[in-house]
Subunit: 409 residues, 2 copies
Amino acid sequence: MSAEEVVNGMESLGVQEKQEEDDDHVDPWSVTSKNDAGIDYDKLIKRFGSSKLDDEILARFEKVTGKPCHRFLRRGIFFSHRDLHTILTLREQGKPFFLYTGRGPSSGSMHLGHLVPFIITKWIQETFDVPLVIQLTDDEKSLWKDLKVEETMKLARENAKDIIALGFDVRKTFVFSNLDFMGRCPEMYQNIIRIQRCVTFNQVKGIFGFGDSDVIGKIGFPAAQAVPCMSSTFPFIFGKKNIHCLIPCAIDQDPYFRMTRDVAPRVGFPKPALLHSTFFPALQGAKSKMSASDPNSAIFLTDTPKQIKTKINKHAFSGGRDTVEEHRTLGGDTNVDVPYQLLKFFLDDDEELERVRVAYSTGQMLSGEIKKKAVETLQPIVEEHQKQRKLVTDEVLNEFMSLRKLEFS
Amino acid sequence: MSAEEVVNGMESLGVQEKQEEDDDHVDPWSVTSKNDAGIDYDKLIKRFGSSKLDDEILARFEKVTGKPCHRFLRRGIFFSHRDLHTILTLREQGKPFFLYTGRGPSSGSMHLGHLVPFIITKWIQETFDVPLVIQLTDDEKSLWKDLKVEETMKLARENAKDIIALGFDVRKTFVFSNLDFMGRCPEMYQNIIRIQRCVTFNQVKGIFGFGDSDVIGKIGFPAAQAVPCMSSTFPFIFGKKNIHCLIPCAIDQDPYFRMTRDVAPRVGFPKPALLHSTFFPALQGAKSKMSASDPNSAIFLTDTPKQIKTKINKHAFSGGRDTVEEHRTLGGDTNVDVPYQLLKFFLDDDEELERVRVAYSTGQMLSGEIKKKAVETLQPIVEEHQKQRKLVTDEVLNEFMSLRKLEFS
């Protein structure tokens, strides 16, 4: 079978083309929608060929884990998956799997939206008691942004500290940056070559929209994001075991894993399973996602309580009405209201969230009041994060990044 | 400056296009000529934009080194260069440089032609007393040939033993394979990204003739052959020194180093200097080069004295005439006679070679006799090689491949 032929009938085929006719644009480098309510996620599931995270699979999830689902799952913030049933079956059979997620360190300060995949990953890790590998793609950021290798490596370490501050267990979690890890574990590059010899330029053109004037580093990079799906990339953790991988990530990362799933059978590892999240909205509204490169669009993990208050009051797109009278009569629109969306992501208490939703959409609660609620919900979260972040010293980070066995059954 | 603009006025520009109109085809993966006497090397110098290794620079070479040039230089076997004057000037000024050469390990048994760059490299190393790095591109062979990663890594070690058997000094020589070294030295991948972010697909298309159906590993690979030109790839040898590099290689490897020289100023390292050799002819004649994939075209380093004799007698293309009478009158043609070419590469004694040349080209010496001379010259060389090869144990190889300081002034 030639490398060209492998494309036929594969998940990655034709997805890029379909995108161009759509109101929504979703790829690993940009996410935009022409609609106020943001991306049409049901349409995205169809276009990407993934499966809806529906009530049935959530019920099975709760049955297998014996505990209620995380709010991100309950509230549709994670909304799509690939092969999650396989992972649940593995657990039922007492067979192992591992978790993989990551981050592209393009700026030193992370924002709230960056935490979403890590929050769910931590919860899944605790729920299933499984090992986790976290990749920082400093190589990617050096290729895509105008950032020097030394700069992105520094950003990777800074970002890793923010991630670790969420409370990951060092006995079960391995954190690595590509530009560092590549030079400490030969299996990483060997697996990259195993992937790169199976994927043509035509294929990455179709999957990622690369063109002839793209630098060759970009063209080869998708393999670097693919290889952590192979347990053989981490022999110090998994020995010679060839085990399944589950990746929680925002859905814009799906193209990498469509490609990975396409080559998996040829290279000889199980197709990774995926859990896809929606995007964390920009303060300006769901037409774009929160972005570190626009400071007014984002609540950073380094923001002071005052900055959080000012940003939400000043910049958070409101679903409220033009006048108090109108608002009292018609109610606010929670679908586009950013303070409400922030609460949906970060207010853990379902009953309280429902009270807010009813009050706001019936007009009892005003714009200023829901903003205040969002501010009061986020301030202590960010404050606590900053407290934890201070405890993540270079020594702690080095421990997470050291090559070692992890605990898993 | 964009990555596209960098191409303007660069050495690599337009060389590939010019090739297509020519009788000679020379790229890193195939070398063929339509002419019996083989490649027109003067034309190649013009096309590649390199400089002729003329009497003037050879005289300077002898003056700077204080010793006569190696037979490969005296006899035009190395015939072209880039910036050799810079290297000689560095030596005159007492400034350091290092040597870099390599091999693509596509088969376990190397042939005589494979030794050519290593023989001159060893001589230059001894003459200048400089450190040497030898790269085995097992990653390349896994991408181009249908060879698994594990297989090419094994071939790399076997080939390295043959190279070391030439008598390299372990105190001054570092041998590495990409698939192994990449995982032991973070600077290797970091430098690859530094190169890959400066070179577009358009550029490698122009330089190497890559196309859309090539696998992405091929497209990114040229950076892996470029980075050993940067002394910063080997911090354990060179520390933080940013020193010049001289590469002895067959001229088919020049495209890699044209690209490297083009990006060097942007990445911040000196352009590597080059010494280019002609091709070692196939036994069937100079229209193609000796190739390990056609056993009858090559004299292998594992051949017995009897095999060498049989191969030369049976397969070596003769420049002799059809009948003895004709030969006695007209003489043999040393330009196309393979036994004579073999002597030109491997018979060290200039006077004896000249005697053979005169005798053969005047008809005194017959085809069978010059073949006998070639057999008798090569048999002891190959036999001695096999004796030395046995002494290169895995332990010896591991020493050459271990990351350590080298001796140099």
